[in-house]
């Protein structure tokens, strides 16, 4: 399967990946010029943390082989696609119980900030060859790899 690889030492916390994710998931258009940063509905599915030594670390869903968010999901909204390897989220099935947020050991997940209803979950930009976060990363801290499962 394909994964977004992270070289944290190349990350300069420019938040390009965060912007890229917001651009891709913006309902009003997929260009950077369509993105209104004051619109609370624009949220990213990834984030960048700064650790105890002030080093940045991009936190992006791994689409785990043994995904805790799937194990823990009681509505069937979070599923592992055995063909593509992706962990997919169906917001129509989701009951907003937040057990996935509670269970992801890497702290990748959160609920949307407006209604606290929908899980902000990476979809690897479904139809794109290269996910937007990777495309937006100017230092190549993010890049695509094909990994054996």
């Amino acid at each position: 399967m394909r994964r977004i690889m992270i070289d944290r030492y190349k990350c300069e916390a420019c938040l390009g990946c965060v912007l890229g994710c917001m651009v891709e998931h913006n309902k009003k258009g997929k260009s950077i010029y369509d993105l209104d940063l004051e619109d609370m509905a624009n949220e990213s599915r990834n984030h960048v943390e700064v650790d105890y030594e002030n080093r940045p670390a991009p936190i992006i869903c791994r689409h785990c082989e043994d995904p805790e968010c799937v194990t823990t999901c009681m509505s069937g909204a979070m599923t592992k696609n055995e063909e593509t390897g992706l962990v997919e989220y169906d917001k129509d099935k989701c009951a907003s119980c937040f057990m996935c947020v509670m269970s992801c050991p890497y702290g990748v997940l959160k609920a949307d900030r407006i209604n606290n209803e929908v899980i902000m979950k990476c979809d690897m930009c479904s139809n794109r060859e290269v996910p937007r976060c990777v495309e937006f990363c100017p230092t190549r801290a993010l890049y695509m790899v094909e990994v054996a499962r």
Partner: protein, 417 residues
């Protein structure tokens, strides 16, 4: 190989799914009293008319056909005969197995309160039939008394109030949700409930129900003398394992079936998973994990329960989410309690000597899963020199060659980079 699974909920279904993944040709049969697959965690949404029965399912459409699983519904096991390797059902039929999984869950118990077990309008919420019955009676009812202010009790309270009933909640603890929350975080929900007309009675037990001539409870009297009138009573005060049929076997039972980390019982080729098992909180994620683990071992592949930490709960009422992990109510001055409280967002972390034992996150639950991991595995944080609420996976960041995250090993009291 002939696999037999008793129960079609979190543990049973996930075991069957995993068995099919691991063994393409084996015969898999599920026997369950349930004739539909549904998530027990969503039953209250049926009562609130927010989901139809179909939308309570947690499996894909045609799950049984797609996975080639034989399903015998509406039947329960009455006896296991390990020496003959077969299970006898309530219709007298018997089914042989090579590997058997017991995943029959638990049933709600009604405490020995006078007239509570006799009342015709007294319900628990465990099965779809319960939800259907509550939904029906709610139509002609004006007042409901809920005995037990835990997660299920509050779930039902919210939905019944949503349907216009006047609801009174009786909880023996100092506040609602006493297993998960502290006073501060529980008060937020109590306030929301009261705002909508709920009566909340804490630190008190129900003493008796008053029956009318039709055998319905019309009044619930509390130990402090308070009397609450009722058209229906919901009891959400604990569960008991469904395992009567193991009588006569060597399966060890101690308020639940006793299993090892491979989900094996004391009887050869018999496994157990989910709420029917002993000594742990009955929560969905554990049941699934156990179902998967049992399936691996049934298929001859070694797998152990890595983490049976079950003291974690998430909830959301009236748009306010909360996650509770470990024990956030430790009352011991040896422990340090850190609190963030801006009047809305509330966060609490209880720790001692660099180990976190409990936490609550209310209104802002983003990325809280890291704390579940840290608390469950007692990962030391004493060398992480930053605001405790800002601790995140970034502090443990480690990515392997396959692009998977791992936790950097942090030795207690040592700084390791």
């Amino acid at each position: 190989m002939k696999y037999l699974i008793l129960g079609a909920s979190a543990a049973g279904i996930n075991a069957a799914k995993t068995l099919r993944k691991l063994d393409k040709d084996g015969s898999i049969t599920i026997i369950s009293i349930d004739d539909k697959v549904y998530s027990r965690c969503m039953l209250h949404l049926y009562i609130g008319k927010k989901r139809s029965i179909d939308r309570l399912s947690f499996v894909e459409e045609y799950f049984f056909e797609k996975n080639n699983i034989n399903w015998i519904k509406g039947r329960r096991a009455t006896k296991i005969e390990p020496e003959k390797k077969r299970v006898v059902l309530d219709d007298g039929s018997s089914h042989e197995y090579d590997k058997l999984l017991i995943a029959t869950g638990s049933s709600a118990v009604v405490p020995p309160v006078e007239n509570l077990r006799e009342g015709k309008n007294v319900f628990t919420l465990r099965n779809l039939e319960d939800a259907i019955a509550i939904d029906k009676l709610a139509d002609g009812s004006e007042r409901a008394v809920i005995i037990g202010g835990g997660l299920i009790g509050i779930d039902v309270a919210v939905e019944l109030m949503d349907r216009g009933l006047k609801v009174d909640i009786v909880e023996m603890g100092p506040n609602i949700l006493p297993m998960q929350l502290d006073k501060r975080s529980a008060n937020v929900y109590e306030r929301e409930l009261k705002k909508r007309g709920a009566g909340i009675f804490t630190n008190v037990l129900a003493q008796k129900g008053v029956l009318d001539s039709n055998g319905n409870i019309v009044e619930v009297v509390l130990k402090d003398g308070t009397s609450l009138s009722a058209d229906m009573v919901i009891v959400a005060a604990g569960v008991r394992a469904n395992a009567d049929f193991i009588e006569g076997t060597n399966i060890k039972f101690d308020r639940g079936i006793v299993v090892n980390e491979r989900c094996e019982t004391d009887e050869e080729d018999i496994y157990a998973a989910g709420d029917v098992c002993a000594n742990k909180p009955g929560i969905w994620p554990l049941a699934v994990e156990e179902g998967i683990t049992a399936a691996y071992n049934m298929a001859g592949l070694e797998r152990k329960i890595e983490n049976s930490f079950g003291f974690k709960n998430s909830m959301s009422f009236y748009g306010i989410p909360t996650i509770s992990i470990g024990n956030p109510n430790i009352d011991d001055e040896d422990y340090q309690i850190d609190i963030y409280d801006d009047g809305k967002v509330y966060k609490k972390v209880v720790h001692k000597d660099g180990i976190i034992y409990g936490a609550i996150f209310q209104r802002d639950i983003s990325y809280a899963g890291v704390f579940t991991k840290i608390i469950a595995e007692k990962i030391p944080i004493d060398t992480i020199d930053k605001n405790i609420f800002k601790i995140g996976y970034g502090d443990f960041f480690n990515i392997n060659s396959k692009g998977e995250f791992e936790f950097t090993k942090r030795e207690y009291g040592l700084k390791i980079i």
